[in-house]
Point group: C2
Chain length 332, copies 2
Amino acid sequence: MVVTLKEVAERAGVSRSAVSRTFTDGASVSDKMRRKVEKAAQELGYSPNALASSLTTGRTKLIGLVSNNFHNPIFLEVFDQFTRGLQDRGLRPLLVNLTDEVDPANSVRMLRQYSVDGVVVASSTLPPGFSKAFRDAGVPVVHSFGRSSSSPQVHVVGIDNVECGRMAARELVARRYSKVAFLGGPEAATSTQDRHSGFMSELAKHPQIEVACSFADAYSFDAGRREMLRLLNCKPAEAYFCGDDVLSIGALSAILDSGLDVPGDIGIIGLNDMEMARWENINLTTIHQPIRQIVSSSIELMVATLNEPDRYPEARIFPCSVIERGTLRPAP
Amino acid sequence: MVVTLKEVAERAGVSRSAVSRTFTDGASVSDKMRRKVEKAAQELGYSPNALASSLTTGRTKLIGLVSNNFHNPIFLEVFDQFTRGLQDRGLRPLLVNLTDEVDPANSVRMLRQYSVDGVVVASSTLPPGFSKAFRDAGVPVVHSFGRSSSSPQVHVVGIDNVECGRMAARELVARRYSKVAFLGGPEAATSTQDRHSGFMSELAKHPQIEVACSFADAYSFDAGRREMLRLLNCKPAEAYFCGDDVLSIGALSAILDSGLDVPGDIGIIGLNDMEMARWENINLTTIHQPIRQIVSSSIELMVATLNEPDRYPEARIFPCSVIERGTLRPAP
DNA sequence: ATTCAAATTGCAACCGGTTGCAAAAATTTG
DNA sequence: CAAATTTTTGCAACCGGTTGCAATTTGAAT
């Protein structure tokens, strides 16, 4: 059924090496030979087996695309960008779903079995141990949306979550809220921790402002709604910095259902600027995370690392900015 | 860096075949041998190269997961289900993004290069030519969310879109709407066509009801909103059947922005029952499409077809049902 | 026309595994 | 205990390609 190099060689009346060479660029083949081979290949419908060639070249062009985040719509955009960007460079994403996976060793084994050329970890919640494990296995790694660091252990591309926390805090301060709170995602996620610490550190400069915080158990609508409903039962703050847009939207839904007004009674600022945030029936004020830039930079960094495996680890941090919409009251 | 079978054989003092056999189940190995080999493998951190073995076995355990739908949040759930389901069966999804791709031949070539064992097409908008092209290339194919048919050319798993159209129509009829319309997705998609024809055929039984229809150019929020804004400028219908939830939400946003009330002034019924549809600030009445069942059935069918490549093509159709929420007025 | 360097080609070994076959070892049977 | 079976093991060829090396061809220079 499937045509092999040998058959093409026979039909063209040349050696197998000749056929191989016409299909690997940079190899030495005369024009005459190339034409002969291409004709035969055409007639037979031949296309080289990438996996077989990987045996000798050591390159599969397979990239593990690892994530544990299949419930935040923003990741659909992330996957879209990654798959297209990788395809455009002749690389193939092998999708790995790490939801519920706790042992990096399993993932390492799996990715080794398929001898991926590199691994992109696309997650802000996967413990750093996973990236490290891939690196230790000798596989080039880029952690997208990972924790920014001044001494990164692996390549990291993303945002400065601490700074985002500060930015959100400054925004609330500027609008003269006197009682604010952080509604974070899973407490174990580095992104949550960093956003939290930035938020707190900025507010520490304003001791007259009352601060509270709590955590939803996932970056999801339901978790955000549930947590906000709980908060509304006690004494809610005047404004919340939610650790993620999807949390914000859940919180928003809880507030509106309680008959309160946004931003009249309670203000909300999110983070990510997902597509939905600008939908007119949501209209969320949020901090924009430059997804496309992060993804395309991650891909560039991966490609560079494939060509230079011992490349020194670096962190690439992209700036975020506040997108003002309708869920915070205006500054005076 | 990477440990091979030969090294394990040497360390264990046995032949390469012995090592190979301990790692392929069903092969003949004594307990003593197995222990010796496993010890050596353990010490060296060996795990077999799936790609190399695929050369002789003809099986890569790679499944092409092909889609062109990276803008409808429902597909994030679809990808989640597929990746987990495939992983659980020891299969690996190779993600292929066919956005903007028009020539099936390219995709076929690509999937052949990586010798995937099978292809799952997950899309309701990809032209049937793609599935056919994969089949003609001799690759087992399952088209999930494809067009249901009484004489399927390839395996199809999904819903009966014509029946869904009828169901939506019956729902509107029961609620005594006298002027209704279909707001479909891309006109070229078979899913749009079928939903449309079902809708029209049912309404043909009620000649006193006025019917209109129009099409958005994508299954997306923006397209739905844009089209509904246009419709509001003319003389809108009393109730709309939108070809998809995300379209419905876009339409909803346009209606609310125009100061009209839902369901007071205009009713909406969607299709899919995506997670967001039940969010309290959306609360969309819609037709539930059983995603999980479709995905898991697709995977089962794929696995079965891998074991029996000449399996006769079949269509697996799952029933849908109306989920009543808040965007249609109650029946009298 | 010769000489010499450069470009092209084929041979054969190799990548990391699997597997049919026959030899060797273990087990059962008489 | 020997013979007959069954199980286990290793050899060697093969899967579909790539690549170093030497032989051959081509082309330029003399």
